[in-house]
Each structure stands twice: as structure tokens, then as C-alpha cells.
Amino acid sequence: MNDLSALRRRRDDGLGPNTDIGRKLRALFATVEDQGIPPHLLDLLDRLDEVERQSSVHLNSATAPEDGE
């Protein structure tokens, strides 16, 4: 249902799968998307994760008795 109305809307705005402009827009975007995620961004996420983990360990050891592993 939803797909159908989305399709109808896309057709109306002239950017649907069979339109030249719609296809080229997505192809152009895909040239960037398909490059994947640059390593420095993955590193950043890992570092943020690590900081988070450490601060939550601190938090836990400060507020609760240690459970151990």
C-alpha cells in the first residue's frame, strides 16, 4: 500500500525509477556512497565507543560493587 502510494508520488514528481533525472541523481549519489566509509571515520567511531566503555566502567565501579567477570 505504502509502496504503491510512494511509487505514485515518485511518478508525480518526475523523479521515479523510469525518469532520466531520477536515475541520474541516484547514480551520481551512488558514486559517493559506493566508496564506503573512510577509515578515519571508522577509527573515530571506535574511539568514541572506547571512551564510552571506559567511562561506563568508571561509573559502574563508583556506584555499584564489582561483579567481576
Binding site: I21, L28, P38, L41, L59
Partner: protein
Amino acid sequence: MATQDPGFKRELLATLPSLRAFAVSLSGRHDKADDLVQDTVMKAWAKHESFEMGTNMKAWLFTILRNEFYSQMRKRGREIQDSDGLFTERMAVHPSQYGIMDLSDFKKALDMLPSDQREAIILIGASGFSYEEAAEICQCAVGTVKSRVSRARTRLQDLLKVEGEGDYGPDAVSAQVTSTRHIG
């Protein structure tokens, strides 16, 4: 308490490629775009508690990135915008059925649009947002997005027609169909 929901990072990662493509379309350059994405990730991470899991993370991230871009623009003046490089860098390998020349003509036409129209047609046509989501991201009315998209499309059709549609083989038929059958 502040422990990150693992789903947050997963969703963030899944959105990064399209977020990055949007950043390139705004800033016009890959290096600036990557800085912009990095700033966005930091911001999003810092305020992840204000994000409700299960709601639209993609729209949330696009909004943060767009706000970040315009606030940096205001700080630095207009030097950020360098549309000459828009999408053209690293286009050597591309996955579509279109030839590189073909897409680079399209890119040039896209660069000629006013930035608000370009942004609107990208959010709707390439990033796959609804008009309502795009309006929220751009902080404007739904009707404004609709009219920007419509003007952008009409302008692109004109530009592409002028630039000699039919010159490139397999695409000529569809180009002709969409440009002649278009009713505003």
C-alpha cells in the same frame, strides 16, 4: 546510565555512506565533506541521549549535518562552497549504466541550480526522503520543498535538453520521453 545502545552505532554506520554523499553535495568537496561528516558524528554521539531509538535516525543525522554545514558557512564566510569540485573527484570508478561523461554533464547541470533547489531535489530524488522529512531537515514548509523540487526538475530538464540530449546512445530514448512528456 550513559551506555550506548549498540543499535545506535549500527544505525549510524549504516547511514554514513548516504550522509557522506549528502555532505559532498553540500560542501562540494570530498575533504570538506569528510570533515563535516566527522563533526556530525561527534555531535550525534554527544547528544545520542536525545535521540529516540526506533525513530528516523537518517533524518536526524541529515538535520545535524545540514545545521553544522550552515553554521560553519556563517563562521567562515562563503569559501566553503566550491561547486567546481562537486562530485567530480574520485569519479573514476562508478557503478551505474551511465557513462562518466554523461554523469558529469548531469553534475554540471546540478551545479547550476540554486543551492536550496539542489538540496531539495537531492533529498527527495537521491536520498529517498519524503517531502515531510525533507521539510523537517531544511526547516521549511512542505509546500516550499515541493516547489523547490519542481523548479529544480524543470530547470534540469531544460539544461540537459540544451546540452544536446540524444548525443549519448542508449539514454536518448528515456531522455526524450521524460523531457517531452513533462507537464509542470
